[in-house]
């Protein structure tokens, strides 16, 4: 378990002063009572809890700037928060930090169908963007499973993916522009309704920066015309390697399904108990969705049928109507909750691997589960090799959390060892922070931290996330940045 930070006593001592100053800036939007703060004590990485020093909920971007400027002046860390659905602890508060919640900045500012984009405040939920334009036949493509709750600001910070990013890309591919605030409150626009061309691609690097480079105050996203035809297949296999091979064969055949999801026996069984989507009892299933115009979809379905049979599928079932399609997806989307019923606690890993490594990695993970003596299941975005092993445990049983974390870490090391990465869509956050050296060398990490320093020299934006060690920022940069030297001895890390 990563230790929660020792709060900086000098900051905590000034709590009354800080709260008063925040109330002056956002009179009706400061939470400072313990009972109120308890509601903000963590995100979807549920094993970690920590109430913030104070929580502020601005309504206006000028208020966001003012809060940042205040924190900057007083040297207080800022943790930005959308809906708190991060699975990696990205929005985990600090006892010595201000939690900057975007819960009240939830207005859609502009719907521009001619330019196929929507501009919104960061607290607008992912699903609300689609809701705002679906009447006109458009939608916003990235669809993380938490889309009813998660916010566009959080999606940008984490570069969220979703079930359909195989064809439609991650947030970064669907984001046209942002306005973001630097730690001193100054705001910068990058990108917009025009495609690129506005200097260095700061938009690209702010996206997915997990709140470490800036705080998004406004976003413009691309909307897509809703495909006229969508067909959904359930493909069942007697063996996990056969399902893995089928995925590889479909990709290698040049087919790009809108989504291709994998679930193993344990997950299928849990989901059946939970919401009875009618999955066959078998070793592995794939849910494959193809969308587009009717003829090309028909074509894709026919080819996938062939490939699936050739890869050893014993059943290929197509959703007959919208109700059945919804049921097939309901099971997949409920995997998380269904597994959660089996044990009090759960860890969800997120490594991405080259697709060819799927069979070997799946086999090795099954062995590891035995070694660690923990329940686990596999449900993941198979099309892009993005694994989500769910490890179930009971934090009250001594040693189980440690075992679960060790198991998770070993999975991620395996992902890196086969040429993959630590996280495909959930972010590094607190959870995978200490594993960063598995994937990046000292020089790699030093370069990323120098970029961090260019945006946030004082290290006040979401400190303790992403990077395993803090480095000092040297303004001049001529000297080699001294690595490992702790800036702010009193500024603890998670």
């Amino acid at each position: 378990m990563i230790a929660l930070p020792q709060p900086d006593p000098q900051i905590v001592q000034r709590r009354t002063e800080i709260v008063a100053a925040l109330k002056h800036l956002v009179p009706d939007g400061v939470v400072s009572e313990p009972a109120g703060l308890a509601a903000y004590d963590g995100d979807a990485l549920t094993a970690y809890r920590q109430a913030p020093l104070a929580c502020v909920l601005p309504k206006l971007k000028d208020e966001v700037s003012a809060v940042l400027a205040l924190a900057h002046e007083m040297g207080v860390p800022i943790v930005p928060r959308g809906a708190g659905t991060s699975l990696s602890g990205g929005a985990l508060p600090r006892a010595d930090g201000i939690l900057l919640s975007f819960g009240r900045m939830n207005r859609i500012l502009d719907i521009d169908l001619d330019n196929r984009c929507v501009t919104a405040e960061p607290g607008v939920t992912n699903a609300a963007i689609t809701r705002a334009v679906e009447g006109q036949g458009f939608y916003y493509a990235p669809d993380p499973s938490s889309q009813i709750a998660c916010t566009i600001g959080g999606n940008i910070a984490e570069n969220s993916g979703g079930l359909h990013c195989l064809k439609y890309g991650l947030t970064t591919h669907n984001l046209l522009g942002v306005e973001f605030a630097l730690p001193d409150g100054e705001r910068i626009r990058c990108g917009g309704k025009a495609p690129g061309g506005d200097g260095l691609d700061l938009l690209g690097v702010v996206t997915g920066s997990e709140g470490l480079l800036g705080v998004v105050t406004e976003a413009t996203v691309r909307i897509l015309p809703k495909p006229p035809c969508t067909r959904t297949l359930l493909v069942a296999f007697h063996s996990v390697p056969d399902a893995g091979a089928c995925v590889a064969n479909i990709i290698a055949a040049g087919i790009v399904p809108a989504a291709m999801e994998f679930m193993d026996r344990r997950c299928i069984e849990a989901v059946e108990v939970y919401c009875a989507p009618g999955y066959p009892t078998t070793e592995a299933i794939l849910i494959i969705e193809i969308d587009g115009l009717a003829a090309e979809v028909a074509d894709g379905v026919a080819r996938i049928n062939e490939i699936a049979r050739a890869s050893g599928a014993h059943e290929v079932r197509e959703a007959a109507d919208e109700a059945e399609r919804a049921r097939l997806w309901k099971g997949r989307k409920a995997a998380f909750s269904a597994m959660g019923r089996l044990a009090p606690d759960m860890l969800c890993m997120d490594g991405t691997i080259p697709r060819r490594a799927l069979p070997a990695v799946l086999a090795r993970m099954a062995e590891m589960a035995k070694e660690y003596d923990l329940g686990f299941c596999n449900v993941f975005h198979a099309g892009d090799g993005n694994l989500h092993p769910l490890i179930i445990f009971d934090v009250m049983t001594p040693g189980e959390l440690e075992r679960a974390e060790a198991f998770g870490a070993e999975i991620l090391r395996l992902c890196v060892a086969v040429g993959g990465v630590l996280t495909g869509e959930h972010g590094v956050g607190v959870e995978k922070r200490d594993l960063m050296p598995e994937m990046f060398s000292e020089a790699d990490l030093a370069q990323q931290q120098r970029l961090k320093c260019a945006f946030d020299a004082a290290g006040l934006l979401n400190p303790g996330k992403v990077f395993p060690t803090l480095s000092a920022c040297i303004e001049q940069g001529h000297a080699h940045v001294k690595r490992g030297a702790m800036r702010h001895a009193g500024l603890p890390r998670f």
Binding site: G420, M439, D444, A446
Partner: protein, 399 residues
């Protein structure tokens, strides 16, 4: 001035460390096709990456390729074609525009200048395709950014930052790109005799439809001469590229005919060549005028028709990306202040692509940034290249 011709990352590292020690600036070049793009450089030495060439790893099943930065794009495309794959952003070859030979641009150069082709309207620009890279920074360290899988959010997305950075953040040594399947069939049709206004509306309508067109361009009459038969198509020709299987294409063409209403639609042979010609700016190659690239929201409201604007369309121009990208010729020697101002008002930007050295010295080649952003850009530059060794001043003073 010395030229360091390097063929390995270690040699790049050696050259950069030497430059650091001697405080000597480096102009980073591949095959030099775009040396005259950007503000003029006065570097002490040249770092020639053309020898740092070759495909390192190509896994057709993974739809990923890793190549050294100096690998010619043509070599990569040839390797991909053997496996029926392609680069989604359809790299544009700007060589001929600058009087260099065709098919010699390197992948590092194309990414650094963000030379995105017509298909980017459907698949995204190069920044959406560069998954990872290796590079050498101004601290004299070799490092990597990003990864080698299609879905990755581990650490900062440095690959995005390098696309279009004009080499100012340091030399790339190796790049990993995602790939796309080549469609079974490709068809390009021309909607003939359409005025600019009607064409832009039509292209946008198609762009907002489920046709997933991989090319939406317009060649007006004034530019027709450079495009052979297209010049004979009345007021101008809107070009639409569609792909898919036979059945899918028939369906798409039928839908397209509904969208174009009363206009004539004809099949165009060699559509890919036409799109490549548009995206490469090649049609402007022989002209004496300066060449600008304008990026704008595809929809421009009514006041766009102001006479002043209309004047801008008297010279040769072509539109790509459903009107979001305009290549245009302009009077030589203009500093572009007016165009920059106009683009800023319309929510876009302009880049001076080709002009004399004197003009590029004087003009804003890249749109000026707002002060706070300009300061951040300087700090980002310094985070990679604190001594300003790499292509100093190529984008702006100090960057």
């Amino acid at each position: 001035m010395a030229t360091f011709s390097v063929s390995s990352e270690a040699e790049v590292l050696g050259a950069v460390r030497g430059a650091r020690e001697g405080s000597r600036t480096l102009e980073i070049v591949g095959h030099g096709t775009k040396r005259d793009f950007g503000r003029p450089l006065e570097c002490d030495d040249v770092l020639d990456l053309s020898g740092l060439s070759g495909i390192v790893n190509y896994e057709p099943d993974e739809m990923i390729i890793t190549a050294r930065a100096g690998t010619p794009v043509a070599e990569i495309e040839a390797a991909l074609a053997e496996h029926n794959q392609r680069l989604g952003f359809e790299p544009a070859d700007w060589g001929p525009l600058f009087g260099a030979s065709a098919n010699s641009a390197t992948i590092g150069g194309v990414l650094s200048a963000s030379c995105d082709g017509s298909a980017a309207i459907r698949y995204g620009r190069c920044r959406d395709h560069l998954l990872g890279f290796r590079a050498v920074n101004g601290f004299g360290e070799a490092y990597k950014g990003g990864g080698k899988v299609v879905k990755n959010v581990t650490g900062f997305d440095l690959p995005k930052l390098f696309c279009g950075a004009m080499g100012t953040l340091g030399p790339l040594t190796e790049v990993t790109l995602r790939l796309f399947p080549r469609p079974p069939l490709i068809r390009t049709v021309a909607v003939t005799d359409v005025s600019r206004f009607a064409a832009m509306n039509l292209l946008r309508r198609i762009w907002s439809s489920p046709l997933e067109a991989t090319g939406l361009s317009y060649v007006p009459k004034v530019s027709g001469a450079a495009f052979g038969a297209l010049g004979e198509f009345g007021a101008g020709a809107a070009l639409v590229r569609l792909d898919g299987t036979d059945a899918a294409l028939s369906e798409k063409i039928a839908m397209l005919r509904e969208l174009v209403e009363r206009h004539d639609v004809i099949d165009l042979d060699g559509g890919d060549r036409t799109f490549r010609k548009i995206a490469s700016g090649e049609s402007f190659a022989g002209m004496l005028q300066d060449v600008w690239l304008v990026r704008q929201p595809p929809y421009q409201p009514g006041d766009y028709e102001e006479s002043e604007r209309e004047a801008a369309y008297q010279d040769m121009w072509v539109a790509d990306w459903a009107g979001a990208l305009i290549w245009r010729a302009g009077t030589p020697g203009k500093n572009g202040a007016h165009l920059h101002q106009m683009q800023k008002l319309s929510g876009g930007s302009a880049q001076l692509i080709r002009a004399s050295e004197q003009t590029r010295q004087r003009a804003q080649v890249f749109a000026r940034e707002e002060p706070v952003r300009a300061e951040l850009t300087q700090r980002v530059k310094a985070a990679f290249d604190p001594l300003h060794l790499f292509n100093p001043g190529r984008m702006w003073e100090g960057v």
